[in-house]
């Protein structure tokens, strides 16, 4: 479904990802794990078209997307929940969700989808008139995911959904990720520092170090790999 081949990208004089190759097939959950600054977020931003790539190619459903504008990429069905959530602070919860459906015109189905995300996260329904900036961290994460779902993505990119959240909330979020994957057949690309939790819901995983993919394999094989256990799982 999504394929990255020899992708290079960076900011100014710094090359954040040097050579990234990875592939996702329809319906999978894959995870990209790595340390701070390894190039995880840059990879996602390159896919979304926010950070232009310097070399290589990115294709989605056999179409090159690396020269497309971010809005065209969203239109094709790739949606991202960025690191730090990026809620529109002065828009209400409702308006934040409306923004998620920005490119859609089917009012009726939008209404249905709103009901659907409220069923996933009932707390958001209570807060629908409140400004996004006033929500707690966990609620913001829920809102960010809901907003992304409003675009009915085929591929959902999640950047560190567990960051800064309480363990109980993290558990809930990961459960819902799995649920989204199963219920909607949404392909999920999960970037995490919390490797243990991520690998437990993922089908396959990649490990990135200094802008290069160093390991890849099924989630189970990664969980068993001793190097990875030492470096990322804290075992």
């Amino acid at each position: 479904m999504l394929r990255l081949e020899n992708v290079q990208a960076g900011y100014g004089n710094i090359l954040a990802i040097k050579d990234v190759n990875l592939e996702i097939t329809q319906g999978e959950i894959i995870t990209l794990i790595g340390a701070n600054g390894a190039g995880k977020s840059t990879t996602l931003m390159s896919i979304s078209g926010v950070v232009p790539i310097r070399a290589g190619r990115i294709s989605f459903k056999d179409q090159d997307i690396h020269r497309k504008e971010p809005d065209e990429i969203v239109r094709m069905g790739i949606c991202q929940v960025p690191e730090g959530r990026h809620i529109f602070p002065q828009l209400t919860v409702q308006e934040n969700l409306d923004m998620g459906a920005f490119l859609r015109k089917d009012k009726k189905e939008i209404k249905q989808d709103i009901d659907y995300v409220f069923s996933l996260f009932p707390i958001l329904a209570e807060r629908r008139g409140q400004d996004g900036g006033t929500l707690s961290g966990g609620e913001q994460q829920m809102l960010a995911m809901s907003r992304a779902l409003m675009a009915r993505p085929q591929l959902l990119l999640l950047d560190e959904p567990s960051m800064g959240l309480a363990p109980l909330v993290i558990k809930q979020i990961f459960e819902i990720i799995k649920q989204i994957n199963i219920e909607n057949n949404t392909t999920i690309f999960l970037v995490e520092q919390n490797a243990n939790q991520a690998l437990h819901i993922a089908d396959r995983g990649y490990v990135i170090e200094n802008g290069k993919i160093v390991f890849s394999g099924t989630a189970e094989s990664l969980l068993k790999n001793t190097d990875i256990q030492k470096a990322y799982l804290g075992i």
């Binding site: 979304s48 078209g49 926010v50 504008e69 971010p70 809005d71 969203v74 239109r75 949606c79 991202q80 960025p82 990026h86 809620i87 529109f88 602070p89 002065q90 828009l91 308006e95 409306d98 923004m99 998620g100 920005f102 490119l103 900036g133 907003r147 992304a148 675009a151």
Partner: protein, 300 residues
């Protein structure tokens, strides 16, 4: 009491004029964080375009109403075109540049546009055709408030309402607010940010053009330099109200207009601007983000 009312109405009219220009500043600032110094020049170009079109039409003997409408539309079209082009040339390539670079680019653009109009047209003051007639029914109160004041007040009020509705409820308006609050995220939900920024410049320029037409017709003359002082004042008004905030720009403009009017009326016009700027300093000392500006919540 009459004197007070006269000064009050004069101040409100002046405030309304500032508001039309200040809105462009505040919208552009809100969305890309740039003090668009060339905005005053866009206003001047709007006034010039309407002057040229109106004079040509009146020479060819068009009726007044047609002149007003065509001149107004032409001013809006060309000012917007200039606003759009200026953004594409001078600001868009600088999106990721250090913060002060677009500011210098804006100052350069302002100098350029002034001299462009000076050279292509003239350095002389030109008489602006009287597009707003003196209404007969206004005659009894004409010594207090003129017809053009009324037209300015009504137009500004209507534009404010339309703008508020557009920003609050339309797709473009929502996209503008989203882009202003978080540009990266706006991209990620599928907003074409470049197009929204262009739209902001176009709307801001259109408002400035209407301002240009109204003010030029009210004052009765224009030259290439009118944008500079009006621009600085409108910018002051926008900051006073809290830059980036649309109701703030309107409130700031009214406060500024009233302050200047009363300062002239009750103290001395020598220090009119001193009062205006002192008020600004005072308000910012006690409310560092302006009257209606939202204090920036910085997360650490």
């Amino acid at each position: 009491m009459d004197y007070f009312i006269e000064l009050f109405l004069g101040g409100i009219t002046r405030g309304a004029i500032y508001a039309l220009i200040a809105l462009g500043y505040t919208m552009v600032y809100g969305i890309i964080g740039l003090i668009n110094f060339a905005h005053g020049e866009i206003y001047m170009i709007g006034a010039f375009t309407s002057f040229i079109v109106a004079t040509v039409l009146s020479i060819y003997g068009f009726p007044l109403l047609a002149i007003v409408l065509i001149a107004g539309v032409a001013a809006v079209i060309w000012s917007s075109a200039y606003g759009y082009t200026v953004e594409k040339i001078a600001y868009k390539p600088l999106r990721h540049a250090p913060r002060l670079s677009p500011l210098i680019s804006a100052i350069g653009m302002s100098v350029f546009l002034q001299n462009y109009v000076l050279l292509a047209q003239t350095s002389d003051f030109l008489p602006f055709p009287e597009l707003i007639p003196e209404f007969a029914f206004m005659e009894p109160v004409a010594h207090i408030i003129g017809s053009s004041d009324i037209i300015i007040l009504i137009t500004t009020a209507v534009i404010m309402i339309i703008l508020t509705v557009v920003i609050k409820f339309t797709r473009v308006g929502k996209a503008m607010r989203a882009t202003a609050q978080d540009r990266t995220m706006a991209m990620l939900v599928g907003i074409n940010v470049n197009r929204i920024i262009s739209a902001t410049f176009i709307i801001g320029s259109a408002l400035a053009a209407i301002g240009g037409l109204l003010i030029a017709s009210h004052v009765g003359q224009i030259n290439f330099y009118i944008g500079f002082l009006a621009g600085i004042k409108a910018f002051t008004a926008a900051v006073l109200g809290g830059i980036g905030s649309i109701p703030g720009a309107v409130l700031g403009s009214l406060v500024l207009g009233l302050t200047e009017s009363f300062a002239t009326g009750y103290v001395s016009s020598d220090y009119e601007d001193v009062f205006a700027f002192s008020l600004l300093v005072l308000i910012l000392i006690f409310k560092p983000s302006g009257l209606l500006g939202k204090a920036e919540t910085k997360k650490v």
